[in-house]
Symmetry: C2
Subunit: 254 residues, 2 copies
């Protein structure tokens, strides 16, 4: 007897998006290229296009590096103007070695170069920053997409972060709206009646990573649609990806 | 004009697997419940059933805690017999505070309790260990599944790990066969001709997390099938998830 068909999770990239300019209406661009959006879909967006639409870019020609930025730039082998921007985006510099600056951003994210990025930038002399408030960006994009499409949707905004102990970057959630970023199973029982160990699951990060598996990074595919599986969107925007950020005093590894 | 239909990634759980006993033929159980396996599919398996099939469980009644285990147990509020098993599975204890033991296992994984787990165990007095060599387990399971089904497949074996800086656990790859765990884009160019920043992508971990989004943890769904997207399986078993492990001397956060 075949098993009952379980719910599938499907992910696919939105094709044919144009280059995103400052002030671009990202919701309109997505809705135009993805007319099949349905209730419950989650729109997973690489932060880069959100930052560009929001004008969160810096022309390096306008940046005067501080003495600290110049010294750090010499130490790690980076353009001191980029280091200056990284320091402005950072609440704390955690490590500076082996060509890498590991920073805690003003949002509380711990990542290389405070998320300041030279790839997929509008020009080689321009860097792209993280959105100022990625949860607010996710809420705005969600609201606009819902108004345009008449569908109930969620939005996750992502970036690639390295991590300690393991090689490789993984896409994580910087912002979200309409999705609880953490699935809380604390106190729930396993199939043997024992309390589950994995009790708080970072589904927004797992979804960010899943979306990365369908996105051709070298072409222009910053938006992925996720449909189905166990993902359930919420009527409320919810706590956002801010709920994923450990405060320094809660963290064993700083 | 509608965009050309991009390749979708689909994920679904295998339903109706029985409780896995020591010595169980996991490949036969999976092949029986999932007759639709196709060339290129990736079989993502929670390590728990692999460990159980391999007899990687310990009855706590057989464990005599050392003085160190008793002292640590008192300090973090854990059964000293479980602490003893955790220490045996550990190459190093990195942190012991707030009820948590963070260990580097003999494989090099950094995780809570060296992966020793009391949930979904055969009984409350039994703990489940990580597989001795998860890449070897993945290779064996892949070989057996390919022989049984006549299909070209890949296998990823996973567990839920916490991580620094961010709340929540995320499923990661402990072992893999037939899938390159890291997608290496070093030196490739973005759409503007600039070298990509995110250059080494931990796709095996992203896939482990993706599989977690369709698996109902409270019921018995340890196996998920992934099909499509940009995932490409390899003829060779490849380097395994060992390639994801940073050596301590390469790591900025120890």
């Amino acid at each position: 007897m075949p098993a009952e068909r379980p719910p599938r999770l499907e992910l696919w990239p939105v094709s044919g998006l144009p280059e995103v300019e400052p002030g671009a209406d990202l919701a309109a661009l997505i809705a135009a290229r993805e007319p099949s959006l349905a209730n419950g879909d989650i729109v997973v967006v690489s932060h880069k296009v959100v930052s560009k639409a929001e004008g969160r870019t810096v022309s390096l020609a306008t940046v005067t590096p501080s003495p600290q930025a110049r010294a750090l730039g010499r130490m790690v082998g980076k353009d001191p103007r980029i280091v200056e921007v990284v320091l402005r985006e950072s609440a704390a510099l955690l490590r500076a070695e082996r060509g890498v600056l590991i920073c805690r951003t003003h949002h509380g994210f711990v990542c290389a170069n405070a998320g300041v990025d030279t790839s997929n930038a509008p020009s080689p002399e321009t860097v792209v920053l993280l959105p100022k408030n990625p949860d607010a960006s996710a809420r705005r994009l969600r609201g606009a997409l819902q108004r345009l499409t008449g569908r109930q949707l969620a939005v996750v905004i992502t970036d690639s972060f390295g991590r300690p102990w393991r090689h490789g970057q993984q896409e994580v959630a910087l912002g979200c709206a309409g999705l609880e970023p953490l699935l809380d199973l604390r106190g729930e029982l396993d199939s043997q009646g024992v309390v589950l160990r994995a009790t708080l699951i970072a589904i927004a990060d797992e979804l960010a990573g899943a979306a990365d598996l369908v996105r051709e990074k070298r072409s222009r595919q910053p938006v992925v649609i996720a449909r189905g599986g166990l993902l359930r969107i919420a009527a409320q925007d919810g706590p956002g990806a801010a709920a994923l950020v450990r405060r320094p005093e809660e963290d064993l590894f700083r």
